[in-house]
Symmetry: C2
Subunit: 220 residues, 2 copies
DNA sequence: GGAATTATAGAACGCACATACCACAACGCC
DNA sequence: GGCGTTGTGGTATGTGCGTTCTATAATTCC
């Protein structure tokens, strides 16, 4: 019972995500948001209240669309393939990220989380969600024999979470294929069932690791 | 041949490091720097030119005092112990970091490096330096038999660099002892000589990994 | 078809920021 | 002991920021 919105909230939030993702919170001005969303300041303030609220909403949207969707895609695969597919996608994204935006969650983890408890809770929740996904994969992989039992699934998941954060940081400063492949390849190789010290157990982990030193191509 | 400085450059730069470390570049104002350094704006500008130059100088100082010094300390140890000591120190720092400042280099890698080519070069250089240190350790460890040859030293170093970045990010959002120990312990365990899939090869890697799940204490 | 309500447009506001300026102070040199 | 030079303190300057205000437009309800 009043004048209706002239804009689509989703489209506007996607534009806001692009702003905050590329430039961070502080460096993005309301005027930047006006330009990229096509809205006036009054509309932005009327719809969300203030800049921080826009950021929070955009962050939620990013989490669901980028991270939640990726986890759901990978959950459909067998455990070991799920982890490999997850990191393959991270690598592909990182290496085709021409603006070096990285991951909004990681960016927010450093810029906003330390000084904003609400945002920190959101980010911590996302990290737990990713860790839980990793852990489920690790446990299932240990069950079906594709992932080593030499290390507890919990520690494997924590390790992968750390590696994920690390790749996202490195990619923004040294977006070199060989480097990122070396990081991820070694981490995934450490999950391989059978002995790692003896004969090569997993063909594609070995290939990924080897290509890290030579800059070779990666399979889809 | 003129009026001498009334302040000690090192002391002032240390104060500037604290500001930028705790708050980042954008969130630190010249007034913050004035307050923490005790200098007036004119003195700051007279000595360094502008805010960015202060940041660059402070960053250099941090790199030498925090990172360079740590590498030099660890280089004195046998290779495998050097890596363990390096990460033990990172863990200790991260867990006693009450302000959750993290590492200035990692913070700068996300806030400044993507939009400032000069800073990016500095940060990339630091990362190469750390990676080179890791690689030297890995190669020496493979020589003396304390580190596995199953993975190339280069890939091991890249992996450790990624894990280091990851720990620094995680520590700012989820500074939980068990989590960080899980990340680092699993990474270090993957370096152990002899088969990882079979009997436990390295007592303290195994201990570190186990304590990650229970929150047990860490040896010095 | 008013009345009430909400959206939009554009200008305006107050503030904090990085930086520049100006007057003066403290030194080395001749 | 004046002079040139450099450091310092306080204040001004202009800009860009987040946000608010005012006026008007587009709806629903009765």
């Amino acid at each position: 019972m009043a004048r209706p919105r002239e804009f689509d909230e989703g489209v506007v939030l996607d534009a806001a995500v692009q702003c905050f993702w590329a430039q961070g919170f502080e460096t993005t001005s309301i005027r930047d948001l006006m330009e990229k969303t096509g809205l006036t300041a009054a509309s932005l303030y009327n719809a969300w209240g203030d800049k921080r609220a826009i950021y929070l909403t955009a962050l939620d949207r990013y989490v669901e669309n980028s991270i939640g969707a990726r986890i759901r895609r990978c959950e459909a695969l067998p455990p070991r393939e799920a982890l490999h597919a997850f990191f393959a996608e991270i690598l592909r994204r990182s290496l085709t990220d021409r603006e070096h935006k990285g991951c909004l969650v990681v960016n927010s983890a450093l810029e906003m989380a330390p000084r904003d408890p609400d945002i920190r809770r959101v980010i911590a929740g996302v990290l737990v969600r990713i860790e839980t996904f990793f852990r489920s994969c690790a446990e299932a992989g240990q069950q079906d024999g594709t992932i080593t039992r030499a290390t507890p699934a919990k520690a494997q998941a924590q390790h992968l979470l750390g590696v994920l954060m690390g790749v996202r940081v490195l990619a923004r400063v040294r977006p070199e294929k060989a480097l990122l492949q070396g990081v991820v390849g070694t981490a995934l190789a450490s999950l391989d069932a059978q002995a790692n010290g003896g004969a090569e157990a997993s063909p594609d982990s070995a290939a990924l690791r080897a290509s890290a030193s030579s800059g070779g191509a990666r399979r889809a």
